[in-house]
């Protein structure tokens, strides 16, 4: 499976624009979200996806309606790439009744079952069994849906990783495990957590087709996922894709990330996934700068509108909550 293109054809302008739009939207969401957090408007945990945008962007572009995704504690990017409403996402972070979870969930629990998003997760690694389960449900129902679980380098050292991937393998499920290897678990370097930092090898050890891709190249991620998803639809799943990447900042908003060496960070920032998606769009489609500006502007306005929408929204009342509790 090549990391360059799935069929040798040049990518369409439509695809390139979609990739850029998504990556940029995530970038804006996280950058602006952090400001809201710093203003005290967002509480609890907030794990920015900055620097990793290429992965969610490329993967989700290769999926279709009816498919499923399951995500991580660093889940905003997956939601957005999956096409979530920015209004409902911001409202959720602001604890509002109009949020995806009516303010009950917050950053780590945004989900949209009807749309096939099984949700972010506060338990590292938990998305893998859940995703395998969704793939199993699809197989039992006989649909052609594919499920993607986004997981992490940190999760790869947890028992759930191999245990549930193995279940997907023996049942040939239409399941793609995307391992976002950003090389850190909070401040712990991957080299301190395992001797084998090429995580795709774990899939190979249990007979799962496994690949590695540059996670900062959304087009490469797209192409590889596209191939994987097609195989899965033909009953040749599961497939593991390890996407190497790097965070642009600390683990969460309040982590200065001082343990990240400046040269490594610079290396990855030079390979910024948003810049690369923009460059790909510009170079391969001949789009001009004013169109790019328009897209960026549109996305910024969408976010601003979402903040307005959320601020104007109310919160679930304590009476409603007590009623919910009585029925729980």
């Amino acid at each position: 499976m090549s990391a360059q293109s799935s069929n040798g054809n040049a990518p369409s302008r439509e695809l390139l624009e979609k990739l850029f739009r998504t990556a940029y939207k995530i970038r804006v969401f996280e950058t602006e979200g952090i400001k809201l957090y710093r203003q005290g408007l967002i509480r609890g945990y907030f794990h920015p996806y900055l620097g990793q945008e290429g992965i969610a962007t490329g993967v989700c572009a290769a999926l279709k309606d009816g498919d499923y995704i399951a995500s991580t504690h660093r889940g905003h990017g997956h939601c957005i790439a999956w096409g979530a409403s920015i209004n409902k996402m911001v409202a959720e972070l602001l604890q509002k009744d109009t949020g995806y979870c009516r303010g009950y969930g917050g950053s780590m629990h945004i989900a949209d079952i009807k749309a096939g998003n099984l949700g972010a997760n506060g338990i590292v690694g938990a998305g893998t069994p859940l995703g395998v389960g969704a793939a199993l449900a699809s197989q039992i129902k006989g649909t052609d849906a594919v499920t993607v679980t986004f997981t992490t380098d940190g999760a790869s050292n947890n028992g759930t990783f191999m245990e549930s991937l193995n279940l997907a393998a023996i049942w040939n499920l239409a399941f793609v495990l995307v391992v976002e290897n950003n090389q850190y678990a909070v401040s712990t370097k991957i080299e301190e957590s395992t001797r084998e930092v090429d995580l795709y090898k774990r899939g190979l050890a249990i007979g799962v087709e496994s690949y590695q891709v540059d996670g900062n190249d959304s087009l490469a991620v797209y192409n590889m996922t596209k191939d994987a998803v097609e195989k899965c639809r033909r009953g040749e799943g599961p497939i593991l894709i390890e996407a190497k990447t790097y965070r642009h900042m600390g683990h969460h908003v309040n982590d200065p990330g001082k343990y990240m060496p400046a040269d490594r960070l610079a290396y990855y920032k030079e390979r910024d996934p948003v810049d690369r998606a923009r460059a790909a769009l510009t170079e391969m489609s001949g789009i001009d700068q004013s169109e790019i500006d328009a897209i960026e502007n549109e996305i910024r306005l969408e976010f601003e509108a979402a903040v307005e929408f959320s601020k104007a929204s109310g919160e679930v009342t304590i009476a409603e909550f007590r009623e919910f509790a009585a029925a729980y």
Binding site: A70, G99, R102, A137, T160, Y328
Partner: protein
């Protein structure tokens, strides 16, 4: 038999609803360690009846994921003890998903397993762990004592929207009992008076029901008329039935096989004392397992969990307490 009743329930629901499926260790070809799933593979095929590797966390997690995605899994865990490997998926995923999604996300997941002592299988295969699930909001806890309840409750479980811990007892699989013909579904939260009586209420569930009934028979010989109340589902709990019975008898024994400390009996006692304080003529008696793991030695195993006579003695004590209280007045 209890195990046949369970099989009938699964069979009927698999027939009725094509999204019901079952996974577990040795449940397909082999028909399960307790023969509950025998014949299902032949009837429903390998798509819906699947063996798994020894992967309790994985299979519970996969079941929860399948349920979220709209299927209706039954995950069979050989021993409730092994469910400890999947606790994260139960506690942090299955039970919480509904709240975390603001109410939208439902998890129609059924975990069937069995617990309790029996035949020297020792500390890691003999526990009664319902209290752990009972404490986690979002998990329903079902513990049928007789075949009819086993069937009716399992059918209802498979029509629920929220996770169900369906806890069988290894001693009960071969017990006999009438099972009503035709569609037999028992709603959760409805207790059952297994024996009406007026002098003392014995609350029990699962394998403690046969023992409570035997105890009641012995007590009857002494002229003590015990009511045996089986909540059948611990979550939701039929509080109304319990309080009505206590209002009548004014004396309560709660019998559980689980260890005394922090068991469900304590919680039921705490509810009764809070809501029927002035009805009680004697302290509530809890008859329960000793606070120690279950030993291998059969005599010690027996000594570690309540026997019929323990219930009899406790019931008597509630009546003596009354005479004592009257004498003191």
């Amino acid at each position: 038999m209890y195990r046949d009743a369970l099989r009938e329930a699964i069979d009927e629901e698999m027939e009725r609803d094509s999204s019901v499926f079952i996974i577990g260790e040795g449940i397909a070809e082999r028909g399960g360690s307790y023969k509950v799933t025998e014949g299902l593979l032949d009837k429903y095929g390998a798509n819906r009846v699947r063996d798994t590797p020894i992967a309790e966390a994985g299979m519970i997690g996969v079941g929860v994921g399948a349920a979220i995605a709209g299927a209706r899994p039954i995950v069979e865990i050989l021993y409730v003890d092994f469910a400890m490997l999947g606790m994260d998926m139960l506690v942090n995923q299955a039970a919480k998903f509904r709240l975390m999604t603001g109410g939208d996300g439902r998890v129609p997941f059924v975990m069937r397993t069995q617990g309790g002592t029996g035949g020297g299988v020792a500390a890691q295969h003999s526990q009664s762990l319902e209290a752990l699930f009972y404490h986690i909001p979002g998990l329903q806890v079902v513990m049928p004592s007789v075949p009819a309840d086993a069937k009716g409750l399992l059918k209802y479980a498979l029509r629920q929207q929220d996770p169900v811990m369906f806890l069988e007892h290894k001693h009960l699989y071969m017990t006999k009992g009438m099972v009503p013909d035709g569609e037999h579904v028992i709603e959760f939260g409805k207790g059952d008076i297994k024996r009406p009586g007026k002098d003392v209420t014995i609350i029990a569930w699962s394998n403690m029901i046969p023992r409570a009934l035997e105890a009641a028979a012995k007590l009857a010989e002494e002229g003590i008329d015990a009511e045996v109340l089986d909540p059948r589902t611990l979550v939701p709990l039929d509080k109304a039935m319990i309080l009505t019975s206590v209002a009548k008898t004014n004396r309560v024994v709660i019998a559980q096989e689980a260890v005394r400390r922090g068991g469900v009996a304590s919680d039921i006692a705490s509810i009764i004392q809070a809501e029927a304080f002035y009805d009680l003529d004697a302290p509530i008696e809890i008859v329960a397992g000793l606070n120690i793991p279950v030993p291998f030695n059969l005599e010690l195993e027996k000594a570690s969990v309540p026997q019929v006579d323990d219930i009899v003695v406790a019931a008597r004590r509630t009546l003596h307490a009354k005479s004592f209280a009257l004498a003191a007045e």
